[in-house]
Symmetry: C2
Subunit: 205 residues, 2 copies
Amino acid sequence: MDQQVTDGRIRRGDQTRRVVLSKAVDVASVDGLDGLSIGRLAGELDISKSGLIAHFGTKEELQLATIRAARAIFVTTVVAPALETPPGSKRLRLLLEGWLAYSSDRRFPGGCFFARASHEYAARPGPIRDALAVIDEEWVRLIAETVAEAQEAGEIDPTVDPAQLAFDLSAFLDAANLRSLLGDDSVYDRAYRSMRDRIAAVSLS
Amino acid sequence: MDQQVTDGRIRRGDQTRRVVLSKAVDVASVDGLDGLSIGRLAGELDISKSGLIAHFGTKEELQLATIRAARAIFVTTVVAPALETPPGSKRLRLLLEGWLAYSSDRRFPGGCFFARASHEYAARPGPIRDALAVIDEEWVRLIAETVAEAQEAGEIDPTVDPAQLAFDLSAFLDAANLRSLLGDDSVYDRAYRSMRDRIAAVSLS
DNA sequence: AAACAATACGAACGATCGTACTATTTGTTT
DNA sequence: AAACAAATAGTACGATCGTTCGTATTGTTT
């Protein structure tokens, strides 16, 4: 029963998986999910290629596991803190500012993991693209729902289309992430200003 | 003198370069500049690896030439048609709508070449990233300058920061490009609406 | 026709890729 | 202590990578 928890063999395996995936998300955020070579990963972690891939089966399974690991980090870093605040415009603000920090603080060394990976696989059908499309859709929908909650709280003009506003706001975030990586140091201020003005224009209170 | 123009040997080489780069931009827009393997390219074009790479020297030179070729296509497809209209808000509209068509018509099979390539190399220092950063900066600046011209023409509120507006507009474009590739069919309408509303809010006439 | 120049080809190089298979080590159960 | 199970390692495979070298082909010049 609870041997699942205490079995040292499985614990050892779980620990290895965590270490591998922790390195994998960092590598992939810079060099992409294709740049995730098994040999390189094994070399950097000083473990054997065969021992590493045995945890995942195939490279594609490793890539999918890396996406899931990145999603968990994103939820912990950006989503969960915002959800601690009750629904409304304050939660919306926390969500957006949390994302800007997640990008500018380089939680992943290559900036937003999903911006990197989504562009890499957007035009390549398959399970990896599908997984990334779902996560992107989840993210935009979370913003839209948070907008809708702020409308219900009477803080945002109820005639505004939440999906449209969510599109704009997420677009500002992604643009800041990319252009920051390309060397534009002022772009996070730009994005913050655009978000603030865009929200202020539809705010009631 | 004009043997440069008529020399059949050089013309043959130029033709080969054009064929190679025409295929290279398409391949790279889907599989990235890293996915541009010399062997694959040679195989698809039915020429020899050695004959192909002889035109460029190294793979990195091939990648840089591919970026230049994509830039030329972009200028022809998006920029040049807009520049046929005199400066002002109409030119701005043509520029933005031209970009949306460039993306939605899949001028490159993988959507916007530069969105794909920029995200691929944004976190990887070197000449490729530098070239892409310059092109991105040129594009955003072109939008900003066009905005400024519309201000001088009295069509847009002169108190608006052109760079800030250009940031917003380019962000809408990039978001539409990515999410369209990820399967969202409504996103070009979304982007068009956001651009129209954003511009309308600062328009004078 | 002969000499020359540019392009294209074919073969091979060392390196790395993902994967499969067989030990070996580590931890648990009886 | 013996039997078992899971994780890890070692080795090798065919394929592909970018690059180099020598040669053949194609076009121009004299």
